[in-house]
């Protein structure tokens, strides 16, 4: 069955998701809109440059890094930036530049996995909750139970909750991924629920229902593709936030195991040396972390505009006016 076109109310990726017939033209239109946004707000382009740059560092680190990022060298103990060690060394003599290059491998992996898992769970769950809300008793009870559970999850301060999860599962990358996924699930759950609540009353959904489509078919083929845009736009913002949370957990000792190159743990290791004059072990990874989160925030903002048809039309109109 083909869905009734509803692109007016749908998000930026709705056209892509609707059908293969519309896919090519939809993607081209989205790219054009993205280009318009980047021209309208050139700072957003910087965001894409940063994100691509960080991803490139993660991929190319073994070829770019001058030193092994986990090999200690007592002879190079806390050396300031020099030609030998561009960004100096830490209190085990590890080269900070090399560790900075390798760090996105850990930070981005954790952030992408954590955010991805939370989206994979939160999006379909949110769709089901929204779809069944205020329906028959059992289904409504399911929705209420899920939403109240999310309330409980979100009642805890995110950081404290993440520390508790890491304490339960033990220190390590997998634990941090689980923690990030857990604290992010309610975000996608609520986002999708609100989207689905607004979409489920539309005529094409009613049409599908009258045509005898099952709940699963209605949700997966007609509602989800049209509601998922906002959640996907949220992904980028969440990735940046997850990088920050990963770093925060590592900073308090609940994140990755030393000497894994990771910005938060690098800051934690180096911050004690700031007062004794060795600023580079913590300041440099701090700057790298800040830039990365800034980059993801910019990309997220651009995607938000892309997800908002009104703002998108405004951007395109401005471009055409030039």
């Amino acid at each position: 069955m083909t869905a009734v076109p509803t692109s007016k109310g749908a998000g930026p990726f709705a056209g892509v998701a609707l059908s293969s017939r519309q896919g090519g033209a939809g993607l081209a239109r989205q790219l054009q809109a993205l280009a318009a946004i980047l021209r309208w707000r050139p700072l957003f382009a910087l965001g894409y440059v940063i994100v691509i740059g960080v991803a490139a560092c993660a991929i190319l680190a073994p070829w770019l890094a001058p030193y092994d990022p986990v090999t200690a060298n007592p002879e190079a103990y806390l050396q300031p930036p020099s030609w030998q060690h561009w960004l100096g060394t830490d209190n085990t003599g590890m080269d900070i530049f090399s560790r900075i290059l390798y760090a996105p491998r850990t930070d981005l992996t954790i952030a992408l996995l954590g955010t991805g898992v939370s989206a994979l769970i939160g999006i379909p769950l949110g769709a089901v909750v929204g779809y069944y809300e205020q329906r028959s008793r059992l289904r409504a009870a399911f929705s209420v139970t899920v939403m109240r559970s999310a309330d409980v999850l979100q009642a805890f301060p995110v950081f404290v909750f993440a520390i508790a999860l890491v304490a339960v599962f033990g220190q390590g990358i997998v634990s941090v991924v689980i923690a990030i996924a857990f604290v992010n699930i309610p975000i996608y759950l609520r986002l999708m629920r609100s989207q689905v609540l607004s979409i489920r009353g539309m005529r094409y959904v009613d049409a599908a229902f009258v045509a005898g489509a099952s709940d699963f078919a209605i949700l997966s083929r007609h509602i989800l593709p049209n509601a998922v845009g906002a959640a996907l736009a949220q992904l980028s913002i969440n990735i940046g936030w997850s990088v920050l949370l990963t770093a925060g957990l590592s900073f308090v000792g609940a994140g990755v195991v030393a000497p894994t190159p990771e910005w938060g743990s690098m800051i934690a290791t180096g911050f004690q040396n700031v007062t004794t004059g060795q600023w580079w072990p913590s300041v440099v990874p701090g700057i790298a972390l800040g830039i990365t989160v800034f980059g993801f925030a910019l990309v997220g903002s651009s995607l938000e505009i892309l997800a908002d048809p009104a703002q998108m039309r405004l951007a395109v109109r401005r471009r055409e006016a030039r």
Partner: protein, 553 residues
Amino acid sequence: MTNGTNAPTALTRRDTLRLASLFAASTLAGDLIGGTAAHAATAGTLVVAAPGTPQSLDNEFDGSLGTIDAIGQLYDSLVAYKKIPDPKVPDVLREDIVDDPSLPGAAHLEGRLAESWEVAPDGMMLRLRLRKGVKSNWGNELTAEDVKWTWDRKFALNAIGGFQVGLMDLASPDAVKVEDRYTVSFHPTHPNPIMLKIQTHRYANIFDSTKCKEMATAEDPWARKFLESNSAGFGPYSLKSLVRGQQAVFTARPDYYLGKPAIDTIIYKEVPTSATRTALLQGGAVDIAQALQPLEIKQLGKAPGVTIETVDASSMMWIILNAKVAPFDKPAVRQAMNYAFPRDAVIASVFQNIASPLKGCMPSIYPGYSDAFDQYSLDLDKAKALLAEAGLPDGFKVEIAYNAGDPVQEPIALLFQTSLRKIGVELVLRKVPAGTYFNEVSAKKLPMLFFVDAPWTADPVFALRLYFYSNSFVDYSNYANPKVDEMIEAGSQMTDLAKRTELMLEIQKIVMADAPWVFVASPNFTMARRDKVAGFTYYTSNSINFADFSVKA
């Protein structure tokens, strides 16, 4: 808008930023300096920045730095070591712990609460005669009953004091006898050459039993509740206030039997971060900063108005190799770990040379110590050969636990990890919160852990018995060598000093070869103080006595 001086002007973003910076700077300065500057530097007041306030004032149940420091001020022991100038830092005094067989107990002692003492030639009796007219902070006179009650309490509560009872080899409370109002004697089950030395122990302090009995109840006959937050002792200071987590205030006792201490008031502030303690000392907000990191000590060494005194100490840092956990059940593997440890590099980098390599299994400053049996300089080829000999030519994977509260342990573990990687050993780091670290150590389950400790009594049998006697609770390595056990038992009862020393050297030789530890470092004890503070004396308990200090006008 005109630029007239009276014209109202809008607050620009730059102005806002300036104001914010000024506010932040003033807040920081207030926190670091102004907040306590009102207390510091006043005449007759000493402000100490410590990692923590005393959690308990009852030495039976607490061994943290705050408690150790407090006990030294509120209580006194029966005897103490005489003081001599430190051979390397003559301005610093330290205990004269060299053995002298011509003296009772072979120790250079001077009286504290006891004015004279005698040790039976066969080592079966110690008699002490107390000073007369010594008053507690509650005004009660010291008598032999106080000594008796103190040791009865150790028997009854059987915690830290129980360990001392064992060292004294006392079979029952009856082994401590009140001979008259001012004379008390100890009667061990076997000859005991260190009975007198144990009386110098920081925790061999005497309670005012009159006050304690007054505060005791049927449910609490040993006044535990009272002594947890109050004192009843004969020391130079009394407790004015204790707010845990903030500060303890001590006041000099004008009726102290050795004369009123030079400094009237001691403010013992809790400053958990060593970087903040450094900043406070540098800014003059405190007079003494305790437990600083090597780099901070280096930095303070260049700061005007600050004096750093660093001396050899009884403290030792080692890595426990659990002899009951494979592959450390094989001596060759334990030796290999030592040959792979970059000890000199660790001393030069992480410790900034404010420590010396640990070349023995007891403190290097104690009588009977020898570094002649140290064989463990960095030698990766030898380490690899030893692993092959132990049937592990390809190495192995092992976890090392370290204390999150001790900033030097992680970098040492990382340096060790890099070194071990070269011989095929994969070392996985596990950070343990400071609050639960000791639980991990005392559980004796993990294969490798860092540990820092010091045997407070300056005696080789005391030190070796603590860590290498298989029945000792403190034998955290699960090290068990029947020959060593036998020799320690023999040495514990040996009154012939020369023979005893010979026996202790033999034990050190065996233990060093068996390598139940990775021998890391012997960190110095460092006093970081303002120039105006004088009188630092080093004690083997690695704590300070406020009564030693004076403040220059």
